[in-house]
Amino acid sequence: MATTMPHVDIVDDKPIVCLRAGESIVQTKPVFSHDTKCLFCGSGSAVKVYSTESGECVRELQAHTDKVTCLMLNPANKLQLISSGLDAQVFFWDYIDGVMLKSYTFPQPLFGLVSVKISGGQFYFHVLQSSPRKQCFKEGQVVGYKGVSKDLKATIQGVIFESCALDAKTVDMGQKDDYFAGVSTNRKELLIHYNKKCIKYKMQYVEITCVSAHPTELSLATGCSDGKIYYWYSFTNERQMVKSVYHWHALAVLDLTFSPEGSFLLSGGHECTLVKWQYETHYKDFKPRLGSPITHVTCAPDNLLYAVSHQDNGIHLLRNTLDICQIYQGLTKTSFSHGNPVGLLCDPRSRALVTNGRPGHLQFYCLHNDRQLFNLDIVRQNYISSENLEQPLTVTQITKAAIDERGDWLATYELWDDGEMSPEMQLKFWHYDEKKQSYEMNTVVDRPHDKALCSLTFRPYNSSIRSMLPLVVSGGQDCRFKLWTLVDDTDIYRFNSKWTCDSVGFYREMDTGATAFAEDGSLLAVVFGSTITLWDPDTNVLRTTFSSSFDKKNVRQVLFGRKSCCHLLVATTAWQLTVWNLLTCSVQWSVSIGAVVLVDDPLTKYMSVFTHTGDLHVFEPANSQPVFTQTQVSKNDVVSAVFIPHKEESPFSAKGRLLWQRQSQLYFMTKEQDLLTVQYDATENSTDGYIKKTPIKQNLPQSALSLLMSKHRKSGAKDRKHEHIDMSVGIKETQFIQQMCSMSATAQPPLPDFCQAFLETRLSKGTAPRAEAMVIDDEDDDIDDIDSGLQLNINADSDSDMEVTERSRPPSRKKESSENLSHSDVDTKKLDLALGKEYRWFESLVKP
């Protein structure tokens, strides 16, 4: 990529979106090395070499430019691995040194290698490729090729099956007798190519899902969609053909394989059970509850190990006694239709990505070395495969989860709802056990809310308050939010602490939406419809409400600014991103973009927002000008995102457009559950072999249009600014009156209660100008005090304070100084202020 760019510095400035970690390792049938020390499996466009003893990924072989489809050991040299890919290439690898030895280019993408033969120094391939005649996706053909060593191109030799199913599992070749077995395109016929002629056997009603040839005898086994396994004998002669049926599986058999000597047959399917059949007897052995449907089964050459691939992107290594000895687990993709309901979270301890994994589990995935750390079983129920694949069973799903800042507590919410029976829901709190190095269940709350939960947030810890207890807010669709706290439950028998509901809040019976805590945990923002309400989390008292008059859409997400932007609140609706100033209770700026995902970096002040058009904007809440913009980050919708802190040295230097990623890296997940990130293209060379990038769309330099657009947005924000302030004040007042009027006369509190609210509405009108006045006031004080030689420490706190309660102090100080000073102009000015042309002085009374 670097060579195509004329200037080096531009290359550096060229961030691209790339796939990062978590690719499928179960796309191909895994293959053992001849000594069973290594296991190969295709992972995206790479081949991963795992050690069967340590379970580590020892090598990654990268040369393919598209998905790897099939792996095979070189029959001529057992130390070589052959891989085929959709990029129409076959590579020969020396996997010990990790060197690519030879490559052959084919005219068409390869979907599988059926056989490789060497005779007379030339390689003969039989490959599975898509049929050229019809553009049918499911139809393929098995073609023989001859590898010409001169130009390393393969030339066509002959066609074995003109038309067959395009699935590598359904094609096999007899090891002794030179026959090929395949399945017709509609999977209803078994095809045998023997002695240059093709024999067809028709199946009744069922489809053949997989084929495996016996390694020594003239027989083969086929798995069917009804769960039956057929053994076929003497099928080379149509009249003498005999078949026998073995039936255990209830659902379709997904893969079959014979042991190297052919004495056992291994089969797996949707039941998550590995079945070991003794050849030609009815004896069988089971390994149940493997966790997830089995997609591939492989047997080691010495018959001591079996590798079983699962749908959850994991490979189990089993001994021949069916004990598990090793697990290789990739990033599990969930079976949800719209990504992960939990979204992406970051575990502060391990800096791992936390998201939904297998049904009822949370997976902790380390992105730094691309491996799963562990799977936390949240639901603790058995995975039951459904009796009918068309009607899958409803499983209990984790729909919300949150981890606190220190990683001590994890809160999860699980929901079982089939739409017919009454839903089952549980809120669970987990404590991190240092000794066991995992999360232990602490409290289970049955039915925390009457309806499903829509948000779950931990309060950040404030380092200045030591005794701060962990606090969780949960917002439910029952128009309530609940605050949960940790309470001491210790008695003479044990030390224990548990979570209980501390208080419940609601606002005019409006729908609860997102929740957020301020950085220091002193404020809680809860969205109710189109209104943002601010609460004191300690007392659960409503402080103030924000609601925009021109945007009546429901607020989707709300976040407090961090660091220098901690006085700002960012809220998004379907078409608008608005930043509120908490000090003035007014809109700071606002742009109209359709935000889908809003996420903040816990270490910096930056936030990033993904729009419905697939654009990424990174901004700081104080400034409406984005720090970084990338259009069209993904073809699919972005559904969740997270900032994950770097583990080691940051790859983003002090300069460049990705400076905002210096502390933590942004990861985001699309609807297709691809985990993507943004980084410099140039870093490809410097990073280790783990990362493979596929540029989706390169970012263009700022065009005239984009400049124009940003200008327009900026000016638009400025214009609106003042309007918003006025509107917000107006809203407050009208809201108050509305509130008064909406209440029935009987339910109204006594009159004195209205006084305070009334006074507050008077107050907020003068808020904005007063802030300026105060600054001047303080400066004047400084001068006075220095002149008079008064204590400066009083100044110190008057300078720093923005607190309302402190405001009443200047007049009192004035009193002291006035004893020494003569009457001056400055004093009168202050006096006027103090006496209050505005009603500032009673502020301290109203807002304690």
Binding site: Q381, I492, P811
Partner: protein, 523 residues
């Protein structure tokens, strides 16, 4: 990841009434009490320190010795002309000493029942008599305010202490020393005497007339009961008060230890026996009795709890035999050869070691769930044993699991009416329980769906449904009442809250005085 079968989780719900603790379980393992009615108030109970732990019950003019096995009177000592007090055993259980209102201390042989000694000298009724640890001396306390120490062989008083200013009511001899005795009196004091010296070694003021005393065997800490308080004193620190327990609301009359001195029991006129943890002095359990309690004692092996009441009622509670322990013991009785067979064998290098896995014990419904036999799983859930033992949560959890597996409809279908009756009965009983209401409503709906063709034919099912309707009708009325009450309370709350705000304002008023700086202007 292949895992072992995950058991069906039985949802546990927080108990609002009482927390289940190990002590609660322990004290609930007492059998139904045996009660006996005596003529007069039972003033004292004492267990023999030796097996078979017979106990002496003092009431009116006699001391009765009960067998701990049969709980029948084995011997009655009635050589008293007036009311007897404080029949207490020597630490070998062979002798018993008791005082009486005739101002005498009498010594009996417990095996024969014959009176061996009479100590005369007190001027008033003798309330307390105890053996000293050396077995040859007896201490006594009397209404004549004196405490005397007697020599058993010679029948002569060795020491006379006249320090108490009111009736001496209780006393205890130290188990750690042969010479230390403690006495409590109505003059609010507890005095410690060393029989080798004249005059008290230590005096502590309890604050109320002292009714009972106990001392730990190490002799450093003792407790005194009087009024409604129990006080814990450290004798080694010169009578420092360690703790004050005020859990009773009437006079505490008796104290006792149990569970190898880990727990303290106190009995009171308020008809309660409270059990304390001696480490934290917190109440761990409370037992209720029908009358005002005057005396209590626990067998040294904790097998019996005997309580005597003012109206002459004697309550004997026996601890249940733990059947589980017996079973475990049986299992351990394997032959020596068998148990050692595999344990000493060391596998050679290269041997394939196959571990023997002990099969995990699963509940019956889990066994059926594992085999996907849903109807049978439901059968076990409605097994009368489970429902009778008041564990509806198990049944509901099994139903929930069936719902989760989408198998409830199949499991409920095609049942005979007798079976439906059991289910309907269960639903009727528990549908109003908020914890189970959701699930059981679903089950009821499903039942009506499944058996809709049989409804209205005057069968048993109709009757059951009518009953269910009745239950639900009552529940609705109840809910309506509750809502009305809630509404009334909400009104009260909203009326009460505004009162708080003005007080806040007044608290900050001093600031107002400072704000108008009129004085500053004047200067």
């Amino acid at each position: 990841m292949a895992t072992s079968y995950k058991k069906t989780s039985i949802k546990t719900y927080p108990r609002i009434t009482e927390k289940e603790t190990s002590d609660n379980i322990y004290w609930k393992q007492l059998e139904v009490p045996i009660t006996k009615k005596e003529y007069g108030a039972i003033t004292d109970i004492d267990f023999s320190p030796t097996e078979p732990y017979n106990y002496a019950v003092t009431n009116s003019t006699r001391v009765q010795i009960y067998s701990s096995q049969t709980n029948q009177i084995t011997r009655t000592l009635n050589r008293f002309r007036e009311v007897a007090h404080c029949g207490s055993f020597r630490d070998d259980g062979r002798l018993l000493v008791a005082g009486s209102d005739e101002a005498q201390v009498k010594l009996f042989d417990t095996s024969s029942g014959s009176m061996l000694r009479v100590f005369k000298g007190h001027d008033g009724p003798v309330n307390v008599t105890r053996f000293l640890q050396d077995r040859v001396r007896v201490m006594s306390g009397s209404n004549d305010r004196s405490v005397r120490v007697w020599d058993v062989p010679s029948e002569k008083p060795l020491m006379i202490y006249d320090e108490h200013e009111d009736y001496v009511r209780c006393g205890v001899s130290s188990m750690a020393s042969t010479d230390i005795i403690l006495t409590g009196s109505y003059d609010h004091t507890v005095r410690m005497f060393d029989t080798r010296v004249k005059g008290s070694a230590m005096t502590v003021d309890h604050g109320y007339p002292v009714e009972s005393l106990v001392m730990f065997p190490h002799g450093s800490i003792f407790m005194s009961a009087g009024g409604n308080v129990i006080k814990v004193w450290d004798a080694l620190a010169g009578g420092r008060l360690l703790a004050t327990l005020t859990n009773h609301h009437k006079t505490v009359t008796a104290l006792a230890f149990c569970s190898k001195y880990q727990r303290l029991l106190s009995a009171s006129l308020d008809r309660h026996v409270k059990i304390y943890d001696v480490a934290s002095y917190q109440v761990v359990h409370t037992l209720d009795y029908p009358g005002a309690i005057l005396s209590l004692a626990v067998a040294p092996d904790d097998s019996l709890l005997v309580v005597g009441m003012a109206d002459g009622l004697l309550s004997i509670k026996k601890r249940k035999k733990d059947e589980g322990e017996v079973l475990v013991k049986k299992k351990k009785k394997a032959s020596f050869r068998y148990t050692l067979a595999g344990k000493t064998h060391m596998p050679h290098q290269g041997d394939l070691v196959v571990e023997h896995k002990r099969r995990e014990h699963l509940a019956k419904y889990d066994v059926y769930f594992r085999k996907f036999q849903y109807s049978k799983a439901l059968d076990t859930a409605f097994n009368p044993k489970l429902t009778l033992f008041n564990r509806p949560e198990i049944t509901v959890s099994v139903i929930q699991e069936l719902i989760r597996r989408g198998a409830l409809r199949a499991a409920l279908a095609g049942r005979p009416h007798s079976y439906l009756k059991i289910i309907m009965k269960f639903i009727r009983r528990h549908i109003t329980d908020q914890r189970f209401a959701h699930t059981l409503t679903d089950v009821a709906n499903l039942l009506i769906d499944l058996y809709s063709d049989q409804i209205g034919q005057g069968t048993e099912l109709d009757h059951q449904l009518d009953q269910l309707k009745e239950v639900l009708g009552y529940e609705m009325l109840y809910m309506k009442d509750l809502l009305e009450l809630m509404g009334a309370m909400d009104t009260l709350f909203s009326a009460a809250t505004p009162l708080a705000t003005p007080s806040n304002d007044t608290a900050t008023t001093p600031n107002i005085d400072l704000t108008p700086s009129t004085s500053a202007q004047a200067v």
